[in-house]
Amino acid sequence: MIYGDKKTGVLVQGATGKQGEFHIGLMNSYARQVGGRGVIAGVTPGKGGKEVHGVPVYNTVKEAMRDHDISASVIFVPAAAAADSIMEEANAGIQTIVAITEHIPVHDTMKAVAYAKMEGCTVIGPNCPGLLSPGEVKMGIMPAGLFSRGNVGVISRSGTLTYEVVDELTRAGIGQSTVIGIGGDPVIGQTFVDVLERFKSDQQTKAVVIIGEVGGNLEEEGAKSTDLPLVSYIAGISAPPDKRMGHAGAIVEGGEGDSRAKIARLKKMGVPVASRPSEIPAMVRDLFKGHC
């Protein structure tokens, strides 16, 4: 695990909303299953004193921090208020923030990420499914049933495509150390480089699968930054230029971020690139034969 474990106390902002309530339930049923602490407090301004699935709700993050030992949080608040929530949590001393919220304007994200960095806080996302370290902790919305514990880390810009790959890995008998969705926006708190650095110092992780997509060159920067054994898959080779493919960050702009060019650069660095998700397990197994 790299961002949290069984001992991590989690706060949820936007706890009384439909999404927040639903996922507090799922995160805590996972916590019970693995014997972890899970979500221990929620925050929704104006709803202090309520309870969601037995979890106490506070008006502010500072109030929740006063009563509980919290080190991480998951944010479900709407886009217009999400950047403010990130800054509130960073200011209150939370160490790791997972921002699930989609459609946050990029300028808000840039400010919130810069502010969090100033406060020494790590932001994952926004527009991401969060992370899951099998047997330890779930912070986000990933469907826990697909996961199995093992030595392979997974980093992805996507949500459901990550579940697809995790499902393939689990069916092939390849367990995961931590699976993390870093988000589909152009500006995200933790990039491939940042997460790979964490995986490098994680005893459990022996190899990493990088799931990227059209847009930018964060995948290549990540691959360049580490000596961990990697397998990659890049979505969007059939994406036309200047069209945004669902994710705000999935676009070829100014000739940068084309999937084919990205794949060519990764291969040049010696990273095996799968041409479809179902090829990934066999390629991971090849890595283990070679390196581990």
Partner: protein, 361 residues
């Protein structure tokens, strides 16, 4: 969303960046009143939403005598297939030197990135390839209101120092208008001072609401329909319709179609927790594309209720074949409902895509 040139120039002008005197006309008749102000030589620029319009014949030189004739010609042209509905008539500048200035969102540093070069008028990608050393860069801290003077000095180098305030003004625009790109190329020096001869502004789609910009005006009917339902939708030109949940999985489905030798007709991401009505609307929308012969539905995720999805597919009742891959809760119920109505449901995305490519061939 990319603003048109005249819209971008209006934004610049309001912020105090000099732009050439210009007038927007929507027909040839609107030109004559402006002829005196435009002077002896002026430029007519088609306001169409495509790149490279100059090479495609979208920019013409004109004078007082032949102005209306040239405008009429330009209104009659198609630029890369698009009709010319608006023309910006602009004074010609007496250019001494061309510079390049842009501000973008830098994914690596997670902060705004300012680029400046003494070699303007050229695509920055070409400069980046041929003379990367000519591009000066500065990262701006989004928590500071202005760009510090030392950074401006580093950017400008030996170029006229009057460019400094223009960089700061463009930075204010970049921040205040929620821009993903603010570009002046070329930024020119003339005997009358410095001007933004051309300008490009791309506004963050997620901020169009608070900026008061109308969402993309060039939507097709189907794109407008998709927007109404909150689907991410991109039209392509193949025969296999695609509906997925999540941008990555949907893109990957498109790629897989190409891998197996087929051509996708569209990208449609229905989003999370798709209820039956949403699925029905998605299937009908994709089914309404004339070239679509078969539709692949690829939905995966813990919270997707398969019986709801099945209900939606059946309710859409479109003539084309729909091939389904579903994984989530109530999977058995969903499968039974689909099988009863004669729909094909396969276990992996490889299998559904392979099947669809066969059907479309």
């Amino acid at each position: 969303m990319k603003l048109r040139e005249y819209e971008a120039k209006n934004v610049l002008k309001e912020a105090g960046i000099p732009v050439p005197a210009g007038f927007l006309i929507r027909s040839t008749d609107e030109l004559p009143p402006y002829l005196d102000a435009l002077g002896d030589d002026f430029v007519l620029k088609a306001q169409v939403d495509v790149g490279g319009r100059g090479k495609a014949g979208g920019i013409l030189m004109a004078g007082k005598a032949d102005g209306t004739k040239v405008a009429k010609e330009l209104f009659g042209r198609q630029i890369k297939g698009l009709p010319v509905k608006e023309i910006l008539a602009e004074q010609r500048l007496d250019i001494q030197h061309e510079y390049y200035l842009s501000i973008t969102v830098d994914r690596s540093s997670k902060q705004p990135l300012i680029l400046f070069t003494d070699e303007g008028g050229v695509d920055i990608e070409i400069t980046a390839k041929e003379h990367p050393e000519a591009i000066r860069k500065a990262i701006a801290n989004p928590l500071i209101r202005d760009i510090p003077l030392f950074k401006l000095r580093e950017l400008i180098g030996t170029a006229p120092k009057e460019i400094g305030p223009i960089i700061n003004k463009l930075y204010r625009i970049f921040i205040e208008k929620d821009a993903l790109l603010a570009e002046i190329n070329p930024l020119v020096t003339t005997p009358r001072g410095i001007f933004a001869a051309d300008a490009k502004l791309i506004i963050d789609d997620n901020a169009l609401g608070r900026q008061g910009f109308k969402v993309n005006r060039d939507f097709t009917d189907r794109e407008r329909e998709a927007e109404k339902h909150g689907f991410s939708y991109v039209e392509l030109n193949g025969t296999i319709g695609v509906i997925g949940n999540g941008a990555g999985l949907t893109m990957s489905t498109l790629d897989l179609i190409e891998f197996y030798g087929g051509k996708a007709a569209n990208f449609l991401d229905v989003g999370g927790g798709a209820e039956s009505e949403r699925v029905m609307n998605a299937v009908r929308l994709v089914g309404s594309v004339p070239s679509v012969k078969v539709i692949v539905v690829n939905l995966l995720g813990g919270i997707t209720k398969c019986d709801e999805v099945a209900k939606g597919i059946i309710a859409a009742s479109i003539p084309q074949k729909v091939i389904v891959r579903l994984a989530g809760t109530h999977e058995a119920e969903g499968r039974a409902m689909l099988l009863e109505k004669g729909y094909e449901m396969l276990d992996t995305m490889d299998l559904v895509v392979k099947k669809a490519v066969e059907v479309a061939a």
